[in-house]
């Protein structure tokens, strides 16, 4: 009985929820089935998505080549670079494991409990993912630092203190950033278990233990590997986190090593080699992904019809604890940053506001560019474009912004001055960096669109701009809004390449650093609040616009 039931329950979440890094058009195993016809077999057509993918691949691999070529080849890596590589892989693996495991009880509690403000809480819990890193670190230190709330409490209780500095700080920060992503993906897995399964379980008088065994564990087995991989990829290129909380050279990541090679040693050859190592990691991870299904985008609606049974007793307390702990962990740093910075917000110097406006304009431009590129890529992928198109879309995830920026600088220096390039390049690089996240949300939606309405549109001769206006944009508004919001928020908080290009027109994050560099720490806190607020507001406006 048990084995049979398991067979019944496993496949639904897999197919319904775990659309994956592999979005190949289904092979035509049963040709008479209409579903098999979603990918009309055509001669190769060049779609806008092919151009975007080619441009991306050229930009990312081409800039790497440009950097290597400029110095006449790659340099050997030092012992310390190899250590950095090991640490990078180790911390990414550990961060991903912890994020995924900790997310399970939180997602389960959110899936099976209903309480006032639940929707708002689910939204708020997503906030850390789009929080500018520098702001997040300020918040984490305020809570977990030596003088933070946690250690104050531990001291008060006569317990030993915990340190946020060193590798454990890097891990803590990565879990802080990625727990929201993991919770959302797993929550979707829970909600994809059809209500009938839970009804069947109830009719068979399953105890919570049996439900976990026959319904939940199979779902987790199919969802968790994808969650793990997503977080692992995000943590591979971590840079600023390790800079502030790493504690020392023991916690150097590859991206930090690239920065040092550029900035101080001016060893472009080594930087290019390290950039190549990062790309190799990306390719390795993508190959890994061929066997691991990654859950579809986390932009879709949160409240499915299925409500898993909510057991009482100690489990109720356990769920309450999981939700409260996650909320405290994810939200108190935000509150603390806000409390610290709010008082001086109104007296911030005018230049900060100008920089903020400039950053907003750049973020919106980046987001628009990212949305257009995302759309082109997703539509091409939905129409069965080659695997390379999707790989190109994933490439920015582990491309080094520094290598990208420097490569563009070298390639374009005869065409424009760095001042002219600074803002456009920053906008373009930020748009590219947001693509992988936007694509995760958009690809499944575009595939559904193609499967459901592709033939109808074709049969009515709905093509080109009319198709875009009447079919694609209205149907994909939600994931597009989500992708745009994510891109805008990530671009808003990015310090990135602009420091390399130099600009007499600083962005808000740059201004924040300038304030800190001028001893104005209180003003910097206020600028951090401004930065955080604008990032959230941009995300919210785009996301709302899509609904």
């Amino acid at each position: 009985m048990a084995a049979r039931l398991r067979g019944v329950t496993v496949d639904r979440p897999q197919s319904a929820n775990a659309a994956s890094l592999r979005h190949d058009v289904p092979s035509a195993a049963s040709p008479a089935d209409t579903d098999a016809l979603r990918g009309p077999r055509r001669r190769f057509v060049v779609l806008p998505g092919h151009l975007v993918a080619a441009l991306l691949a050229a930009a990312i691999l081409g800039t790497l080549a440009a950097v290597a070529w400029a110095v006449g080849g790659l340099s050997a890596l030092t012992e310390w670079d190899w250590r950095a590589l090991r640490f990078t892989l180790w911390q990414a693996a550990l961060s991903a494991t912890l994020s995924a495991l900790l997310a399970v009880p939180v997602a389960r509690a959110l899936a099976r409990r209903r309480f006032p403000g639940r929707g708002l809480l689910v939204t708020l819990l997503g906030a850390p993912f789009i929080l500018p890193v520098i702001v997040a670190i300020m918040g984490l230190i305020a809570i977990f630092g030596r003088n933070g709330f946690v250690n104050d409490s531990l001291r008060g209780l006569g317990l030993p203190e915990m340190s946020v500095y060193g590798w454990q700080g890097v891990i803590l920060a990565h879990v802080f950033f990625n727990l929201p992503l993991s919770v959302r993906l797993i929550l979707q897995g829970w909600q994809a278990i059809p209500a009938e399964r839970f009804r069947l379980a109830a009719s068979l008088d399953f105890a919570p233990r049996d439900i976990a065994r026959h319904l939940e564990r199979p779902m987790l087995r199919s969802v968790l590997p994808g969650v793990w991989l997503a977080v692992f990829l995000v943590c591979l290129t971590s840079f600023t986190v390790a800079l502030a909380l790493g504690g020392g050279p023991g916690a150097t990541t590859v991206e930090l090593a690239i920065y040092q090679a550029f900035r101080f040693d001016f060893d472009l050859g080594r930087a290019a080699t390290l950039g190549l190592v990062q790309i190799a990691l990306c390719v390795g991870a993508l190959l890994l992904a061929r066997w691991i299904a990654v859950p579809a985008g986390f932009g879709a609606g949160m409240d499915g019809p299925a409500l898993p049974p909510a057991p009482g007793g100690w489990r109720k307390g356990g769920d309450a604890l999981a939700i409260a702990a996650a909320a405290a962990f994810l939200l108190t740093p935000l509150l603390s940053v806000t409390a610290a910075g709010l008082p001086r917000l109104v007296v911030l110097p005018g230049e900060v506001w100008t920089a903020a406006l400039r950053s907003v304009i750049m973020a919106v431009t980046s987001a628009t560019l990212a949305v257009a590129a995302c759309l082109a890529l997703a539509l091409a992928i939905a129409r069965g474009a080659g695997r390379w198109v999707e790989a190109a879309g994933m490439l920015p995830l582990v491309a080094s912004p520094l290598v990208l920026g420097t490569g563009l600088f070298i390639l374009l220096r005869d065409m424009a001055t760095p001042q002219q390039m600074a803002l456009p390049v920053t906008v373009a690089v930020n748009a590219a960096m947001a693509l992988p996240f936007g694509l995760r949300a958009l690809i499944p939606a575009a595939q559904a669109l193609q499967a459901d309405y592709g033939q109808l549109a074709a049969s009515l001769d709905l093509r080109g701009l009319a198709r875009l206006r009447l079919l694609v944009l209205p149907r994909l508004a939600r994931p597009l809004g989500f992708a745009g919001g994510l891109a805008a928020a990530l671009a808003m908080g990015d310090l990135g390449v602009i420091t390399l290009f130099a600009s007499d027109q600083p962005t808000l994050p740059l201004k924040l650093y300038q304030l800190m560099n001028s001893y104005r720490m209180a003003d910097a806190s206020a600028a951090a609040v401004l930065l955080m607020t604008l990032s959230f507001a941009l995300f919210w406006i785009f996301d709302r616009g899509g609904r």
Partner: protein, 229 residues
């Protein structure tokens, strides 16, 4: 007249051959599950290309023509309407896919909606209509497009018996009005008998030339017999 000239279509390990001419009129398409009925329609609709052979409509080769350019209207099994567009917009696409309709065209849309008994629903969205009404919207668009070839892939399979016969009656009216040649996939022998004098049998990887529906169903070949039960 639609001619299948020595057509061979290959999809993975599956093949479908067809070499016959389809006269004007109504035709049912019958065959066991997985025999290739939908594949035949997809071939005519332009969603699949044959490996060999030509598809000719009234002397014109349409083998390589894009789906929307073919002299064909299709009613699919599902997803015949865009849920985010209004009824009038869905129907209006039959006139101009980009929906830039002039006064006269808009009047035509209103008029056709009246004709299929949907007056007053123009500004509603398909989600607000019943299944039968949704079928009527799709048929209204077929009427407006007035293409000489009409393909139906069991579009009414999900409707109850009464609604289905109502739809078939409306369909008959439209086909008579437009003089269209029809290919209708169906699982229901009664539908085939009621609607189509001729039937195309799809069996063993081949679509056969149409033959009279009654005799075919009265004395079906072994494969079809097993399927019909």
């Amino acid at each position: 007249m639609l001619e299948f000239r020595d057509i061979l279509l290959r999809q993975g390990g599956f093949t479908l051959a067809a070499d016959f001419a389809l006269p004007q009129g109504r035709h049912a398409v019958i065959g066991a599950s997985g025999s290739g009925k939908s594949t035949l329609l997809a071939l005519v609709g332009g969603f699949l290309s044959p490996e060999r052979g030509r598809l000719v409509w009234d002397g014109q080769d349409i083998t390589g023509m894009a789906p929307g350019r073919r002299p064909v209207s299709t009613l699919f099994q599902h997803h015949n309407l865009f849920p985010h567009l209004t009824v009038a917009q869905n129907v209006g696409m039959g006139l101009r896919p980009d929906l830039r309709l002039d006064r006269a065209q808009k009047d035509r849309v209103t008029q056709v909606l009246e004709e299929v008994g949907l007056g007053g629903t123009a500004d509603r969205r398909p989600g607000a209509l019943s299944g039968g009404q949704q079928g009527r919207v799709a048929l209204a668009r077929v009427l407006l497009r007035a293409r000489p070839l009409l393909l139906l892939d069991e579009p009414f399979a999900a409707l109850g018996p009464a609604l289905k016969s109502e739809m078939l009656a409306l369909l008959s009216r439209i086909v008579d009005e437009t003089g269209a040649t029809v290919l209708m996939v169906t699982h229901d022998p009664a539908d085939a008998r009621a609607f189509a004098p001729l039937t195309v049998l799809v069996e063993d990887g081949r679509a056969h030339a149409p033959c009279p529906t009654g005799p075919l169903l009265d004395d079906p070949p072994p494969g079809l017999r097993a399927y019909l039960g």
